[in-house]
Symmetry: D2
Subunit: 343 residues, 4 copies
Amino acid sequence: MEKIMLASDYQEGTHPAVMQRLCDTNLLSTKGYGTDAFSESAREKIRKACECPDAAVHFLVGGTQTNATVIDAVLRSFEGVIAADSGHISVHEAGAIEAGGHKVLTLHHHYGKIDAGQIRDYYENWLHDENRDHMVRPGMVYLSQPTEYGTLYSLRELTGISKVCREYRIPLYVDGARLAYALACRENDVTLADLARLCDVFYIGGTKCGALMGEAVVIPDPQLIPHFFTIIKQHGALLAKGRLLGIQFDTLFSDDLYYHIGASALRAADRLREAFQKHGYTLSFASPTNQIFLTVDDAQKAHLDAIAASSFWEKTADGRTIIRFAASWATSEEQVAAVEEKL
Amino acid sequence: MEKIMLASDYQEGTHPAVMQRLCDTNLLSTKGYGTDAFSESAREKIRKACECPDAAVHFLVGGTQTNATVIDAVLRSFEGVIAADSGHISVHEAGAIEAGGHKVLTLHHHYGKIDAGQIRDYYENWLHDENRDHMVRPGMVYLSQPTEYGTLYSLRELTGISKVCREYRIPLYVDGARLAYALACRENDVTLADLARLCDVFYIGGTKCGALMGEAVVIPDPQLIPHFFTIIKQHGALLAKGRLLGIQFDTLFSDDLYYHIGASALRAADRLREAFQKHGYTLSFASPTNQIFLTVDDAQKAHLDAIAASSFWEKTADGRTIIRFAASWATSEEQVAAVEEKL
Amino acid sequence: MEKIMLASDYQEGTHPAVMQRLCDTNLLSTKGYGTDAFSESAREKIRKACECPDAAVHFLVGGTQTNATVIDAVLRSFEGVIAADSGHISVHEAGAIEAGGHKVLTLHHHYGKIDAGQIRDYYENWLHDENRDHMVRPGMVYLSQPTEYGTLYSLRELTGISKVCREYRIPLYVDGARLAYALACRENDVTLADLARLCDVFYIGGTKCGALMGEAVVIPDPQLIPHFFTIIKQHGALLAKGRLLGIQFDTLFSDDLYYHIGASALRAADRLREAFQKHGYTLSFASPTNQIFLTVDDAQKAHLDAIAASSFWEKTADGRTIIRFAASWATSEEQVAAVEEKL
Amino acid sequence: MEKIMLASDYQEGTHPAVMQRLCDTNLLSTKGYGTDAFSESAREKIRKACECPDAAVHFLVGGTQTNATVIDAVLRSFEGVIAADSGHISVHEAGAIEAGGHKVLTLHHHYGKIDAGQIRDYYENWLHDENRDHMVRPGMVYLSQPTEYGTLYSLRELTGISKVCREYRIPLYVDGARLAYALACRENDVTLADLARLCDVFYIGGTKCGALMGEAVVIPDPQLIPHFFTIIKQHGALLAKGRLLGIQFDTLFSDDLYYHIGASALRAADRLREAFQKHGYTLSFASPTNQIFLTVDDAQKAHLDAIAASSFWEKTADGRTIIRFAASWATSEEQVAAVEEKL
């Protein structure tokens, strides 16, 4: 394959260290469904990384599955989840949240983010609406870190949202599908421990951050979701060979691998971003993590297409195109250098 | 681990040939969601093995997920699925079918099986019930091959059921979670081509038959389920790195590996069955595939427990216990010999 | 209409006293959704009749709707409801409970009833099953009083069931679609106050007991179902002109009308039962309330069909037919006398 | 009650002619579930009024129930319904559509309406989105006539929307909760026959248009929804004494009563609108049917509150309040005169 593949961060298998570990453990016999020792070890490492020794940690397979299962587990039947209108659950999960019976209550995003004031206003409007009891009750707030736009919630912003959620007793859920690329970002000031302190449930993404597949759901206070194992099973989200997820997360959380993966991707992204700008390309908006969004005209698009595969994001009003490049743990220095050279 | 692990057929990773292939392809970049060339190659091999060149083939991750997704995709909202009361969907999926809105209409099983006459009677009773329109409409028949009891539908039996289903225009669905162990069984006379000819949808199990995870859904007439891709996504069952499933099934359907895996497990099971009987153990019922069910008293159970791990099946009325041993692709001749020796 | 209509207890409009009250109040303006003074008065009368001053009382329109709404409101998503396999929710609600995501966990009935021992066994078996967490959690027990077979739970039986439910912390729900015909029965020793004391939620049937439509859900401890108003709305079960239900129940619970309605129907049923037996007809089983089940051969069926409309119940193994006659508040002494005469 | 009640159009019982008919038929015995002769007669009258002799007509109890049942019956599990963001299903049904598993795909309304261009753009954007198969498929368009804002779709507008829907093969559904007040409006040019010609399913509202309760669903081509009876039952929306709905609609569609009811309400609304304007009140927007929206300051609000009960609509940015008055069949000339006098 001549063309450099930068279209997404889930186009290769798994980080070599993870693959090695899967090979090494392949013929061992363990119990199923995540009750094995690898999974327990991974849980313990995640609890430590989150500075949250009592947290429940569950491993699921993919992002949409995790969102649908967690949200359905937390909400009562008559409750909905507040999210950015650009959120993954709002647009790109084929109605998985609604299939579980819940409305996604959308707020207008600003580059993928919503803020504490919007949440407060939404809740207050609902609370004081005379028809409140005929409306969906807001029962959860959903964020992603980083967002669909590659942007980050700052610690101050996340603290503000958490405060509103706790004031109204609405659980806060953070989708961390690309969390490695937030944690390793220079602009980021939100740690795993902060997430565990400020959120009621969040997940640490594996699929897009170096694993074959897998997402680690962290529930700082396990009482939030009793019987979550059965709920996971009911949602078809319980992996028979659960140890596969345990082995992968155990490896990702050994020797800081999860952070190194993120850092390596961000170095690549930063170099690419710089190179694009140096050659006159326009960033669509500031996006400090592993995704780079460029607004290009047709000639620029053709030139870039010849160099590296990107993905289509959207058309602009003036007829240009926003395209996205994504760096990952698998993006090599050679690939980046090749792009720089050909630009 | 001293004890020989025979508790289930999903306690190891994957067949070494599959693991090798995953390693070899690990760093290649491909498109996601099963749109890659490995998945397409696997589909083509499965179509050939099923002698069904027009079949749609979709890869999902696990059994409960596959059952819930397929059944929900085929049924209309007011329809239910006929199944044995011992069926996996009836008992061990934590209500996944009902979570999709559908009743499981149970028939009494005989060693895991139901028959054409029962299905006909059920349908006719419903059809002629004056309150029919207040009742759940039977909209699908669910079987598993082999069954939860390790028993097999013969070609004659399956043909009979298929005939009834087509007479009443009810799709027939076969859960093949352990299909490799049916296909390789000496008593079996139902081929993949027979399944493709007699069923409307079935799945070829990977998780319990040599893969890390994965089930291949075969729809002989793709018109049965339009938009199945979106339905899979909505059910949280779409694997981002879909090629992982494609690579595994492509390997399983190369060089007859899927059949060899089954045959190897059945050789082990046959030897174990013979050894148990030779030493005075009672088979609970005839079960010709990879699962062996023994009815044991407490002393026998203690003796066997010391030799090899089994799983609890149920208590009998007379206070004895039915336990299950499962052989798999991973059960070695050395392990079998060790059991024989220690009995 | 020459033929005397005894096919069901919902074939006329409403008791004349109720109709009169609807006429008298027709042009008054009130607020909607059950927030009117009539509904509040009816609630207060029901609380008094149940000797349960703190109970929440909600008015819904019909039985299937009430069952689906209450069960969905009480259960968590992964829980199912234990019921007789002959129960209305098991057979005749077109899958309404499953449409809400919940499995009906059926126990074999004896003339419509289940007993405390069966419930205990079911729960204990589930509790001690090694695969418990892969199974639907029993989260509610559903009974009906009287049952589909017109039989009654005695106070001793209901107390036993309630005790088991409380031991296991499973809410007990009683469907009282025909409750008037239980309360007025000589064999009955279960009062409204007993129901309020022993159940966690139950409903007092209006549709089959003298109202145009309507069922009154009683929740002795309102904390059992927070936000029930919104849940009712979400289930499409909130009547805009809620006062219609309030007016009807206010009338039914004035001057003991609900009891008189039941008593009048039972007098008719008793006379009919006696007359049938006197003329050589066989009761299918003892059924002391307003429904009479006869097992008849073809000649008997033809003779009875010419006299009065009944409804088909089921075929017996020996080719005879079980038919059902239902007396109601609308069955007049003249009608009964006419049947007696023509038998 | 001194104060004149104009807060809503469902605050009284039923039109006296309907009540008289219910009284006259009260003690007749009929079969249940809408299989009676009254219901059949009503269906026939509605078919004639719609000039649609083959239409299926079903009677349900209330609006939210009807919307949830119809939408769930038409959509496949992975489809959503396009609606105005101000639509009843979008805001005021407590998530009933999502409880059935479907996303409401909202378009920005203009005074309650959406237009053909918006629908076309939405569909085209979805159709050409590279991630289309990860998104909810638009499977229906929902309008209401009149809208929540009391506005009307013109025949030209409705024809345009119908054309887009048919081009894309998306069924068009019109919620006619207040249809009598559209049909009788001078500005209206959309007849029942137009609705039957341009829509795939619509309902003729009873609850807010003179009935105690009830909505008549019209399906011009009954093949659109096979087994609708069972679907209604499953949704808890099947009235046992279905003839109550039949009797009411039979009366409403005798002697043009449905049109007279609408006309009487509109005469009252027009006089009120004129009186408010004459006394310096500002209409919030043009709303030609039975609802009148005024934007008032606190003093105006207090003055009006003393005269007649209205309902709160929303706050404006400048601190004023939008209130709604609703005239109905029950609004008398005396009441209108009294308001005029006291203004």
